[in-house]
């Protein structure tokens, strides 16, 4: 890669960048500068970032280069730049979670994810835009700016990790961290042609992720390739004593699974196609183009030796209402700390109002519509007299969904479905229709509620826009997701002659 151009740098995989850095063909400063230049040129249009500190990024890059020059032992990601969703707390770097209520807050500590990536020598380019407090599927609920889909800038980049998806798809970051509560990594990855993986609940630390729904939130990679996702996942995964829900198990071997999967041999793998997610009798709301691409992907898996069968998971039909009770319930409590007392926005503290009024005004002006909607919904669902009928009932549905998965694992190794029923929709098309917005998560919610790993990998275009293919595996079997996704990616790239993302903006 001695003749790499700036364009090459911003269109190549992070794994390849890491190789070139290790081989001394590129310096971290060169790579970082290439991304910063591109951010400078493109982000006014894309709107992926909320905060970029070019100087800090270059300083960090210089340090890695200096360490490498001194012959220090560096990890495989050292010197590779990266973007973090603004829900990840970063010491001294503004962190807003997409909300006005945290405008100007500079955290005094690092999230475990941020600390591990820092320790791995990655270079933080900036913090990416998101739906406020990760509530949304289009990033339109950001309190700060509109983020556009690089495939069609009149369309949404998905959400809530839409800043991260847009940044990676547009070449404004080689890879990024997103968080997924009900699909917020997988759906934006799907609609921008990226790989996005939601790890097993408890396998990546939540310490320092601004909580939306504690029993569902997980951070994960959003990348150009499956191998990149596996590498990034390995860097952030593993037990963390700061998170009580963190699983005390060794960091899984994922990159190896991706490399093995890319070999294309899936013989003996049992694949279940979930009937309730776009299958026969369940196609309402699914775009035909999406279903066609998914069917082609299933056929490709079969062609590589996988045994494919239909699997029915009846409780999945209840995932949407259950999720929209559990997540808002937890959110109503998680967001109670934003009261204007200790940090962030405070409104109306002019000596004329009492405590309750200042708290109420702060929350009224600091939170956006969707956040308020969910706080009200969750407050109601937890109220005495309603708890059993709403929150309690939703927890029972959650158990049923988990049981559907458990019995499916008797017969299959992975379950597959579309990642999202549709491709990216035009900006503004669903802002006044929350139910339509919520439907974007239809396919991603079951894995979230069951806490199992699920990956979205591109499976072609429909009407010129990317379609995502979801692969779900049993808890802690994240490696299966990577293996199958890598096989699919390799087979498609071979058939297509190039990576899907190369088709962006008509480049390929």
């Amino acid at each position: 890669m001695s003749d790499v151009t700036a364009t090459d740098i911003t269109t190549t995989s992070a794994a390849a960048l890491g190789e070139a850095l290790r081989a001394g063909e590129l310096s971290s400063v060169e790579v970082t500068r290439a991304y910063l230049d591109r951010i400078q040129a493109e982000d006014a249009t894309i709107g992926a970032y909320l905060h970029v500190d070019a100087e800090a990024a270059l300083r960090a890059a210089e340090q890695v280069d200096a360490a490498r020059a001194k012959g220090e032992e560096l990890g495989p990601l050292a010197g590779v730049p990266l973007a973090l969703k603004d829900v990840v707390v970063t010491e001294g770097v503004p962190t807003t979670s997409g909300s006005k209520i945290l405008e100007g807050w500079r955290p005094p500590y690092d999230a475990t994810v941020a600390a591990r990536l820092k320790a791995a020598g990655t270079v933080l380019l900036g913090k990416t835009n998101m739906d406020e407090f990760a509530m949304g599927s289009s990033t339109e609920n950001s309190a700060y700016r509109v983020t556009r889909n690089p495939w069609d800038t009149d369309r949404i980049p998905g959400g809530s990790s839409g800043g991260s998806s847009a940044a990676v798809a547009a070449g404004l970051a080689p890879w990024a961290i997103g968080t997924d509560t009900g699909g917020s990594i997988r759906q934006p990855a799907a609609v921008t042609g990226l790989v996005g993986h939601k790890p097993t609940y408890g396998s990546v630390s939540r310490s320092g992720l601004i909580a939306f729904s504690s029993s569902l939130d997980q951070a994960g990679p959003m990348t150009r390739t499956v191998l990149d996702a596996a590498l990034l996942h390995e860097a952030i995964g593993g037990h963390d004593p700061l998170d009580s829900t963190s699983i005390d198990a060794p960091v899984p071997v994922l990159a190896e699974a991706a490399r093995r999967g890319a070999g294309g041999d899936l013989s003996g793998l049992r694949v279940g196609v979930v009937t309730e997610l776009g299958g026969d009798g369940h196609t309402d709301g699914y775009e035909p183009g999406v279903l066609a691409r998914v069917a082609e992907a299933v056929a490709l898996l079969e062609g590589m030796g996988a045994e494919v069968r239909q699997v029915s998971c009846p409780a999945f039909d209840l995932a949407l209402p259950a999720y929209y009770l559990i997540a808002p319930s937890e959110a109503s409590s998680n967001l109670a700390r934003f009261d204007g007392v200790r940090y962030g926005l405070r409104v109306g503290d002019d000596g004329s109002r009492d405590l309750d009024e200042v708290m109420a005004l702060t929350r009224e002006q600091g939170f956006g519509h969707e956040v308020k909607r969910r706080i009200i919904l969750g407050t109601y669902a937890l109220s005495s007299g309603y708890y059993d009928a709403y929150y309690g009932q939703a927890q029972k549905v959650r158990t049923l969904i988990t049981r559907d998965f458990t019995s499916a694992w008797d017969d299959v190794d992975v379950l597959v479905s579309p990642t999202s029923p549709t491709v990216a929709w035009p900006i503004g098309a669903r802002v006044d229709d929350p139910i339509a917005m919520y439907a974007a998560d239809l396919c991603t919610l079951p894995a979230s509620l069951a806490g199992i790993p699920a990956i979205s990998v591109p499976c072609g275009l429909s009407e010129g826009l990317p379609v995502g293919f979801q692969i779900m595996a049993p808890a802690l079997a994240d490696d299966r997701c990577y293996r199958v996704a890598a096989a699919l990616e390799a087979a498609q790239d071979a058939a297509r002659g190039h990576a899907l993302l190369d088709a962006i903006g008509g480049r390929a």
Binding site: V88, V89, T95, S97, L102, W105, P107, P108, Y109, A111, R206, S207, G208, L209, I210, A211, S213, S214, S215, P241, L242, D243, S244, T245, S329, E330, S332, S333, L335, A336, R337, F338, D339, V341, R342, Y343, G351, L355, D356, M359, T379, L382, S383, S384, Y387, Y391
Partner: protein
């Protein structure tokens, strides 16, 4: 507003009280409930905080295993069943001293349930059923600045100190306690006293009530005698001394009786206790109470203590106060009633420490229940709050035993100790309180007494031995009490009867 009150004796002619107590105890763990911050009392405000106990966005709790162990030990000491599976819950409400907008507590799945504690009042034993013992976190402390009273009303701004936020707090809840009648206030006090003794014996808390380590919410209700239903209760919050617990119950009984006598309804509400007047005043009424929207804390995993661990903790429990009392009673050779006096005076620890410091049990008991109890009563404080240590009391008793001082001088020495003049021996020295030996001064005083009272002296010589008392008195008067009466008597006898 002044409440109308009915005489307690009269209350009991018409009503039967039911009491109940919810007691919060700050555990003495080195670090907080969900983070590593120190729990030391009295540090500069907000210096013992971190992202977790400040509730900063993204921070997560991690359970302090020592706090769980302490809670289980308290449960075991109270004869509770220890849950094999227990969960934390979030209690949601807005207040500046609660950094997360919810308190991490336990709701329907507490760690310990169904225990009991026997307390004794006037020789009668009352069994207090324990409903539950659970663990939660303390709140921060609000400081209202600018008002005259330190209360929120009239203040112009408030400050919050989060050093206390997140300190492990155990809540011990009794079932309603019926059948205590006239002794309801004393039973309430005896319960908290006994509970405090248990906590001290377990070593789980310093239980310094003046630092708020132990605070009780006292529930009181009255029902007409013979009524099948209990009355409406009030909850007097944050009563933080033993004496106040008793006073709070007594006050509420007297107030509620007046309300009921007037044909009115007792309002179910929380009430504040006022140390200065011993009265309560209305707080929040339950009609407008917050819906706390409890739900299982998703940031924490359930606690599932295994049987083996529980049994290990049970086996390692220290001697509990009731057993210790029985043992000490025997060792000290006291009757049950004598022992009960010590316990009821809150003096067991003091007496036992005084004995440990070298005093005889009889002396230790005499000092604490006699002179010192009188002084505490006069000053309106608890015995333990008197500025005198058991070691000093033992020293004082020793001075009497050795004949260095007599009882009267010892009381004067105590004055000095309480006034902060130092240890008893030092006070005896500095105040010149030592008993006079057979000095020239005393000989002179004895001779002067005989000379000054020839009639009396003659009577004694004539065989009316009891008349000698007047002469002893005269000597004591001249020596301003510093002479030893027995010595004086002997000297007089030598001179008058030659014996």
């Amino acid at each position: 507003m002044t409440d109308t009150l009915v005489d307690l004796d009269e209350v009991l002619t018409r009503y039967e009280p039911v009491i109940g107590l919810e007691t919060h105890v700050e555990l003495g763990t080195a670090s907080k409930m969900f983070c590593g911050c120190s729990t030391t009392f009295g540090a500069e405000p907000n210096t013992q905080t971190c992202p977790v106990c400040l509730g900063l966005p993204g921070s997560l709790p991690v359970v302090n295993a020592d706090a769980i162990e302490s809670t289980i030990r308290i449960g075991l000491a109270l004869g509770c069943r220890i849950a094999s599976w227990s969960r934390f819950a979030r209690k949601n409400y807005f207040y500046p001293d609660i950094p997360k907008g919810f308190q991490t507590s336990q709701y329907d799945e507490p760690l310990c349930t169904a225990g009991h504690l026997d307390v004794e009042v006037d020789g009668e034993t009352y069994r207090v059923e324990i409903e539950r013992v659970h663990i939660e976190e303390d709140t921060g402390k609000n400081l209202h600045v600018g008002g005259a009273t330190g209360r929120i009303h009239g203040a112009d701004h408030s400050l919050v100190d989060y050093n206390r936020a997140g300190i492990p707090l155990v809540e011990i809840v009794t079932r309603p306690i019926p059948g205590t009648g006239a002794r309801a206030p004393e039973v309430a006090r005896a319960y908290v006293t006994e509970l405090r003794e248990i906590l001290l014996a377990l070593g789980v808390s310093e239980v310094r009530m003046e630092q708020g380590n132990l605070r009780s919410d006292v529930n009181t209700s009255l029902a007409p005698i013979g009524s099948l239903e209990w009355g409406t209760r009030t909850e007097t919050k944050n009563v933080n001394s033993l004496r106040s617990v008793e006073r709070a119950v007594r006050y509420e009984m007297r107030r509620q009786a007046a309300v009921l006598d007037a044909g009115e309804r007792v309002v179910q509400e929380t009430r504040h206790f006022h140390e200065d007047t011993g009265s309560t005043s209305e707080g929040r009424s339950k009609e407008e109470a917050t819906d706390y929207r409890y739900f299982p804390e998703p940031d924490l995993v359930p606690i599932a203590p295994d049987e083996e661990w529980i049994e290990k903790l049970r086996a390692a429990l220290p001697e509990l106060p009731a057993a210790r009392r029985a043992r000490l009673q025997e060792e000290w050779g006291l009757s049950a009633t004598e022992m009960a006096w010590i316990v009821n005076a809150g003096a067991l620890g003091l007496v036992s420490e005084t004995v440990a410091a070298g005093a005889t049990p009889a002396d230790a008991r005499k000092w604490w229940l006699g002179e010192l109890a009188r002084r505490a009563n006069d000053a309106g404080v608890e015995l333990a709050e008197l500025p005198v240590t058991p070691r000093q009391v033992a020293e004082l008793a020793g001075l009497v035993q050795a004949g260095t001082v007599n009882d009267q001088l010892a009381r004067q020495a105590l004055d000095g100790v309480l006034a902060g003049e130092g240890d008893p021996a030092a006070v005896v020295e500095s105040r010149g309180l030592a008993v006079m030996g057979e000095s020239d001064e005393l000989v002179a005083a004895v001779d002067a007494a005989i000379e000054g009272n020839p009639d009396v002296a003659e009577k004694v010589r004539g065989g009316k031995v009891q008349a000698i008392g007047a002469l002893v008195g005269a000597v004591m008067k001249t020596t301003r009490g510093k002479a030893d009466a027995a010595t004086v008597k002997r000297m007089l006898e030598e001179r008058l009867t030659g014996s």
